[in-house]
Amino acid sequence: MLLELNNVSKIFGPGCSRCLQETGEDSGGAICPRCSSVVAVNSVSLAVKNDEILGVVGESGSGKSTLLQLIYQDITVSSGEIYFNGLKEKSGARLNIATLSAAKISRMRSHEMSMIYQNPYLGLNFNFSAGGNIAEKIIGSGERRYDHIRERAYFYFGKIEMPASRIDDYPDAFSGGQQQRIQIAKALSSSPRLLLLDEPTTGLDVSVQARILDLIKALQHEMGFSMIVVSHDLGVINHLTDLTLVMKDGSLVEYGLTDQILEDPQHPYTQLLVSSKL
């Protein structure tokens, strides 16, 4: 198993002993009636195997992006365990990556896990050139020789179908769609095992969206990494993913093959979501 989450929860606010029981899809909200904390992710368990592509859908505020941030360790879990890529403690026991130090999180991100954000300002350093951004990730993965770094940066720049002549331009000189492509090159340049995508094409026009989704799909097929794709767009989920989980009020309400979720949804909320498709 590449990634495993056991009962992972995230509470924003003081929290109390009843937060998890009194929120979630059965309770009709993510705000604890006792302490007013927001339970963004409530006792979620899931597993992702090598090569699998998992979609996460749900309305705004359902906890989709928070779930990705917990996996990427952008934020810390309130409770639960996250196991990744067979990482072990010195004792040989499985390592809960939620307990990693900042330095070890940074190392894990440099080598094995990458994230593509909806907002390129979160994924790119706008004070570095496009090539500099990619190089930063390559250096983080342990490469030190300048000529190797430059060669790999050109390689991934080519993968995203950008002319090599633009590698020294700064991110703000690129369009929104091009910035997303540079994020993809940067994310993949460390050859990660798991790629996390948070609404990767939201806000882009449809032709740019299609090119980026095709590119992600082709690179996944070629390089064989696993992906978790968060999107509120069922078209994106249908195009990219094999498996889908549905979230509501921080809870996981349904999980299944993507075609089953779209054609034979079981949960009332999933049925509502699928019937809302344009």
């Binding site: 195997k49 095709d214 094999d242 299944g256 093959l257 089953q260 054609e263 034979d264 949960h267 009332p268």
Partner: protein, 237 residues
């Protein structure tokens, strides 16, 4: 879930049942089908017949696990000799089987508008590791055999007529045939000549040991190609 066996069938459907609960329509319960039983050997084509709306397509979708069954089993003999119940095995195993052993030719073409007919038909071969040029050559041969005009090869099939789209769909579904293929009305919008070609291709697949479950709208096709026919009866709601 998965055990080593030496059964002589490729697929065995036992007591399969499916219904739909529409929560957003006041919890209306719609019966799909009940008590479906049949088995199928390698190299056989089994036809499902019965009036419209009786649940034939739903049975195919339930075997493929696009629909979740209410009860029953769908035993499938894998290439490695083990048996798996498609009705209850984990999703990740279904994905693996779909990649390697079970194919589905739907009634309607599902293809990206940015892909040409030739690329679309070659793609299943590329997926299993065939060199791209060779895959395209084999796709050309298949398209010519199905009577698709050469000038259409480089165009998106979404601009084609219904019959041409149907032929592209079949070509994609059988060019790299899996051991079990589910076919939903593969000849529905084809003229007589194209239908005959499709039946010839299906007969060739049978000779290669491929097992198929198919739905035909025309009973004559069933008599022509099917080894077994299972009639699905209308259920009272």
């Amino acid at each position: 879930m998965m055990t080593k066996t030496h059964k002589d069938y490729k697929l065995k459907v036992a007591g399969l049942q499916k219904s739909f609960t529409l929560h957003n329509r006041g919890g209306v319960h719609v019966r799909g089908f009940t008590g479906v039983n049949f088995s199928l050997h390698c190299g056989q084509l089994l036809a499902l017949s019965g009036p419209s709306g009786v649940g034939k397509s739903s049975i195919l979708k339930t075997i493929y696990r696009t629909y979740l069954p209410d009860r029953g089993s769908v035993f499938f003999q894998r290439q490695n000799g083990s048996e798996v119940d498609l009705a209850s095995c984990p999703e990740s195993r279904i994905l693996d089987l779909r990649r390697r052993e079970i194919g589905f030719v739907t009634q309607f073409l599902k293809i990206l508008p940015r892909i040409s007919a030739l690329e679309g038909v070659a793609h299943p071969l590329v997926e299993i590791g065939v060199d791209e040029e060779e895959a395209k050559e084999r796709a050309r041969t298949m398209l010519e055999r199905l009577g698709i005009r050469k000038e259409l090869f480089g165009l998106s099939p979404l601009t084609f007529s219904g019959g041409e789209q149907q032929r592209i769909n079949i070509a994609r579904g059988i060019i790299a045939p899996k051991e079990l293929i589910l076919l939903d009305e593969p000849t529905a919008s084809l003229d007589q000549r194209s239908s005959e070609t499709v039946l010839e291709l299906l007969a060739e697949l049978k000779c290669r040991g491929i097992a198929m479950v198919a739905i035909f709208h025309d009973q004559r096709k069933v008599e022509q190609i099917a080894d077994t026919c299972v009639t699905i009866e209308r259920q009272e709601q």
